[in-house]
Subunit: 347 residues, 2 copies
Amino acid sequence: MTRVPTPRLPTVSDVASAAGVSRQTVSNVLNSPAVVRPDTRGRVEKAIADLGYRPHASARRLRTRKSSTIGIRLDPVQNGISGAVLDRFLHAVTEQADARGYRILLYTAAGPGDEIAQFRRLLDGADVDGFVLTSTSFDDPRTEWLIEAGADFVTFGRPWGIDDLDDPRHRWVDVDGRAGVASATRQLLDGGARRVAFLGWPAESGAGDDRRRGWRDAMTAGSALAPAQLDELDLAVEDSVALAAARVQELLDAGVTVDAVVCASDTLALGASTVLGPATRVVGYDDTPVAAALGFSSVQQPLEEVAAATLGLLLDGDRDGDGDRDGDAGPGPADRHRLLRPTTVWR
Amino acid sequence: MTRVPTPRLPTVSDVASAAGVSRQTVSNVLNSPAVVRPDTRGRVEKAIADLGYRPHASARRLRTRKSSTIGIRLDPVQNGISGAVLDRFLHAVTEQADARGYRILLYTAAGPGDEIAQFRRLLDGADVDGFVLTSTSFDDPRTEWLIEAGADFVTFGRPWGIDDLDDPRHRWVDVDGRAGVASATRQLLDGGARRVAFLGWPAESGAGDDRRRGWRDAMTAGSALAPAQLDELDLAVEDSVALAAARVQELLDAGVTVDAVVCASDTLALGASTVLGPATRVVGYDDTPVAAALGFSSVQQPLEEVAAATLGLLLDGDRDGDGDRDGDAGPGPADRHRLLRPTTVWR
């Protein structure tokens, strides 16, 4: 595509001379066919077909200043089991955007600074109308930059800064991991488990801390364990099958009784399940293909709903931050963010 | 993005009046700055910055008739373990395309007919310069359509029709699954295994039949087993963990001795490994995160190389089908297709 000169494509002028009409008439046939006499229109349409003339999308975009394109970063490939969830989100967004007449443009970035450079490049080129961001972090510099630039965006993942949750300029969709893990823990307690452990990540990851709080909510309310006993069952390792297996083995070696383990990811759940016998229930998070294949339970994010809510906020929602969906009557934070409930798939 | 009228963006005329120059001078500053006097250029550049004028990518594209964009279909989410390989290919292509100044536009399609409708739409809009296709099949109607339309494309996956392998109009990159499986099987035989089984898919899938042939090549050459004994070890099920486990269990129940199993996918390998003891070696295909997590061996496709070769053929290769890389001296099929060797990751 780079070296061979492109053969000249037919233009409106070519169509006009072939049909023996003015360029304005060709333009009318393309844009307001009703104003053109049928026989003239027939001649122009035949010339368009004969010459293979294509009204150029870039020209249309130049008129409308709209690209009908949404930019999404393709995250680096993760070697863990859980990376699949963002790929499934991308699938859902692409399919639903397609159905709404929007396309997805992918870009890559080595880090937040690099991603901001991509924002600038894509916005400068009017290549995209807005962005969908994933993998939000504490004090995310990307969302700050986009707000500053006045760009349209929605994040899958809530802002993790202290006062940002209701920032009207930051529209977001997220899944309530705290509620999901609490519900899974509560169901285990209701089923007769007493000592339910939590295997999560080290503190300071927004999503991980949130899931841990869910476990603690349910255990505090529904188990007879004292805080010190809960601390003993509150485990943290990096997201690795081997580290998870080692940590659970360490607990068992110390003689600690565990009736069930709720995990912050399927990767951790896989590690735990290689050490625990079939009598100890393991619940993962994200319901990846591995959970289904190996038969352990898992908290499932409603990714189709997340995709629908993300596109809804981006394309229909409250864009000027005045608190209401543009064009509708009532104000409301539902026009700026959505926190969706996950469900547990029991196996 | 749909309801609020876009505020009018600054135009070349706005820049021209703010800088007190003609529109042609603004155009010169943008396109041939060397011809403009430095002080005038400074005034125009200041006006561009003050007004936030952005030379529009669509306008550039209209001039060049190039989108610098490659279309790729995002395959439907697969529930198996092995779908991840296409996502990893997409990652590799996106990163490498980005480094070459090309963007990836995603589309979805419910089937070949739907995908052809997408081709037409994207080509009519000049939205893409070409396509990268995955998941090729026997007598693929998509490639026939693209050849007929004169569109640029490269497939990851060889054409599986009988006479199409050397069709100069069909550029392709593929991984030599037959050689990869043969090599893995040979290494198992060299390591002392005698009765190596093959667990693949039912006949008539191009890639699956190819992998099965690799196993048979190696067993015929390197094992002492008679053809009838090989047939007993040649297993076929759909790509499912449960079906794979059941089929291997059936073999064991029939009293058939198996020293090792080479599989057409990690999904099948996962199923086999749940039934077989640690003494029986299992080799999967695609080296997915599951293989690494559970510790079984797997044949690994060189996806970074596949991505590089795909983009090389699409962007630099032989596009007119005359048998040589455009602009270079010697002809050769290497300018039209590449068959890359996989390696086995032993665990």
